[in-house]
């Protein structure tokens, strides 16, 4: 309600709503006595609506909190504060047993096709796990269900009795997908599902994901650091930097009119296939490293690396809101958003 009032958005079919989600991890102290316990600010106040049936891409550099956010959504981590609402129900404070029915409705596909499958168990029992855990189907019935799933994700159902080590990376990712889809979830959180695969296999998996979305009416949260992949699969994209969402918009809108300097820099880093088309001036190399998430910078977290930063940026935290002249779906968190076609670096005079 408050979220809608703030963004002025009309009633939409929201499947998942994040309100000010915060996740801090305590840092093991190296001092034996005293000292204030420090925390990694992995996710630091993320609000986001995920609509039923859409694919929302989550992009950002390594360590920006994408995976942590995914694990907060699926309750693999408990949030430090804020709420995660699924289908209008706050699930962030449910007990393990209360959560179980929601586990069926949202599933996760993992990044590492090797680590995400138990090497000591047969594929059939791995994919059958969801049924076993939720007490559905027994014996032959379960086996039929598992083989249907294997066929659904393009695996040979005859390989039911094989071990994960006997499959290629792409096939393993299909197994992980079959397991995630077993309980017919509504939401699938894909945590970099293709980044560990060869490019040719990536395309297969992405097409499979798209096929399944059409067939089963899935909603995806698609995490990646490869912008071209995200652009291909996503309806909307949220850009994260140091635990915050800095910009969110429809995919084409974001690529055409990035408002946040970080988004602009990120987009300029996408390699262009034709070297003749590369314009030196368009490429923005950000200086410096991502600051430590243990002591994030004051004000706008991007200010130490931002070419547009001014004194206001060091003190005042920008709010994620719609900028003048933008469509209502396009929000950015920046005091000095980039105008259409404007180069990222302001002229010297302007900056002064």
């Amino acid at each position: 309600m408050t979220e809608e009032a703030r963004t002025g958005r009309t009633q939409r079919d929201t499947l998942l709503q994040l309100v000010d989600v915060v996740k801090h991890f305590p840092v093991p102290s190296d001092r034996l006595f005293g000292g204030k316990r420090e925390h990694v600010h992995a996710v630091d106040g993320v609000s986001l609506d995920v609509r039923r049936g859409e694919t929302i891409g989550l992009v950002g550099e390594s360590g920006c909190g994408k995976s942590t956010l995914a694990r907060c959504i699926t309750r693999l981590h408990d949030v430090t504060s804020g709420t995660v609402s699924f289908d209008g129900r706050n699930i962030s404070d449910l007990s393990v047993s209360q959560l179980k029915p929601y586990r069926r409705k949202m599933q996760m596909v993992f990044q590492d096709p090797y680590g995400s499958l138990n090497p000591r168990r047969r594929v059939g029992s791995i994919i059958g796990d969801p049924f076993a855990i939720h007490g559905m189907g027994k014996g032959a019935d379960r086996k039929t269900k598992v083989q249907e799933l294997m066929e659904l994700v393009g695996l040979n159902p005859e390989h039911y009795n094989r071990f994960p080590a006997e499959f290629s990376g792409g096939q393993r990712q299909r197994i992980g997908l079959a397991r995630a889809l077993a309980l017919r979830p509504e939401l699938v959180v894909c945590d970099e599902p293709v980044s560990a695969l060869d490019v040719s296999i990536q395309a297969q998996i992405i097409n499979l994901l798209a096929d399944l979305q059409g067939k089963l009416g899935l909603t995806y949260i698609f995490i990646a650091h490869d912008l071209s992949v995200v652009r291909h699969v996503s309806d909307r994209i949220a850009v994260m930097y140091l635990g915050r969402i800095v910009e969110v918009a429809d995919t084409e809108e974001l690529f055409a009119r990035p408002r946040h300097p970080y988004t602009k820099a990120l987009l300029s880093a996408v390699p262009t296939p034709d070297p003749d088309l590369v314009n030196e001036r368009d490429q923005i190399i950000l200086s410096g490293d991502v600051p430590s998430p243990i002591r994030p910078p004051s004000g706008c977290r991007f200010h130490p690396r931002c070419p547009r930063a001014q004194s206001r940026c060091t003190t005042e935290d920008p709010v994620l809101n719609v900028k003048d002249g933008d469509v209502s779906d396009h929000a950015a968190a920046c005091h000095f958003p980039v105008a259409d076609g404007e180069p990222l670096v302001m002229s010297q005079k302007e900056a002064l």
């Binding site: 699926t74 959560l99 599933q107 680590g115 796990d129 855990i133 083989q147 009795n161 071990f163």
Partner: protein, 322 residues
């Protein structure tokens, strides 16, 4: 055994036939591979045969005794001792000679094997069961649970076991059950440590997260997802633990705080033979040899099991492609 190349699977994939010869394709799991390697290892086969032989002798000891006509505690004062009361050496009547009371050493050695194997297997089994459960809990839950359990394991490992055993026996009186309990109590902690260490690394794997996101209970994750992955090193250690326990039991019997005479054990036979080793070498040699051969066979088998589970140890596997 045919293995379909991976690229072939990818292309056949999709809408091929579902039913029919589904059970035709049986995956060769890590257990099966280890078993195949073990079967091809000559040392493993040899030591297994030795162990099997000892087990059979122990099992059929009463039958052998009946066949020979010598009970384990029967004293042959006329045939088994020389006129001066000296034990008789190995021969056709007494295969391994006799002891100071004119008893058949061979029969006593195979009866002793029953105690040794029983004590070894039961206490190693107990130690592994307790160690696995405690180690799993410590590694999986971490934090305070791990702190308490790990410190407890440290305490157990630092206790002087002989002093403890002597004290316990003086309270409860010596028996096989007490020996087994003492051996298991002093062995589980090292199993627990090994399991805990393995669990610490395995619980970080994504398949554990996957199980959690499916709503699996802690018990299910511990025993279905994690345990199979720590079983290989545990089995290796368990195979090594059996000879350790056998020696431990022999030590207790030797000191007179284990199984008491007249019940024959290798430990108390060795202890009785000390006074006679100059005149009756067989009295000390055969129980000693039995102990040595048994522990060596188990240790060699343990080494082979470890090699078989080692994913890099595929030399046997490559060398024997028929």
């Amino acid at each position: 055994m045919t293995v379909t190349p991976p690229d072939q699977i990818e292309s056949t994939g999709l809408s091929s036939t579902l039913p029919a010869a589904v059970e035709a394709i049986e995956g060769r799991g890590p257990w099966l591979l280890a078993w195949a390697r073990l079967r091809r290892d000559k040392v493993a086969v040899g030591s297994s045969v030795v162990i099997l032989g000892i087990i059979l002798l122990a099992l059929f000891a009463p039958w052998v005794a009946h066949l020979v006509g010598h009970g384990p505690n029967t004293q042959f004062r006329t045939t088994g001792l020389s006129p001066d009361g000296i034990p008789v050496g190995p021969g056709s009547t007494f295969l391994f000679g006799t002891d100071d009371l004119g008893r058949d050493v061979f029969i006593r050695v195979i009866y002793g094997a029953r105690i040794s194997l029983l004590a070894g297997a039961v206490s190693a089994g107990l130690a592994v069961a307790v160690g696995v459960i405690i180690g799993l809990a410590a590694g999986y839950f971490g934090g305070a649970v791990d702190g308490v359990l790990s410190r407890f394991m440290d305490v157990v490992l630092s206790l002087p076991y002989l002093v403890f055993a002597i004290a316990l026996v003086s309270l409860l009186g010596p028996s096989l059950a007490i020996s087994v309990a003492v051996i298991a109590f002093f062995s589980w902690a090292s199993v627990g440590r090994i399991v805990r260490g393995q669990v610490l690394s395995i619980k970080e794997k994504e398949f554990v997260e996957a199980a959690r996101s499916l709503g699996a209970s802690h018990l299910r994750i511990m025993f279905i997802d994690i345990l199979p992955n720590v079983l290989a090193p545990t089995i290796v250690y368990a195979t090594m633990l059996i000879p350790l326990s056998i020696v431990f039991e022999a030590t207790l019997s030797f000191l007179g705080i284990g199984v008491l005479p007249p019940t024959a054990t290798w430990g108390n036979m060795l202890s009785e033979s000390i006074a006679y080793y100059k005149v009756a070498w067989w009295f000390v040699a055969f129980p000693g040899l039995a102990l040595l051969i048994t522990t060596m066979a188990f240790n060699l088998l343990g080494d082979c099991v470890r090699d078989a589970f080692d994913p890099r140890g595929n030399r046997l596997f490559v060398a024997t492609e028929e």
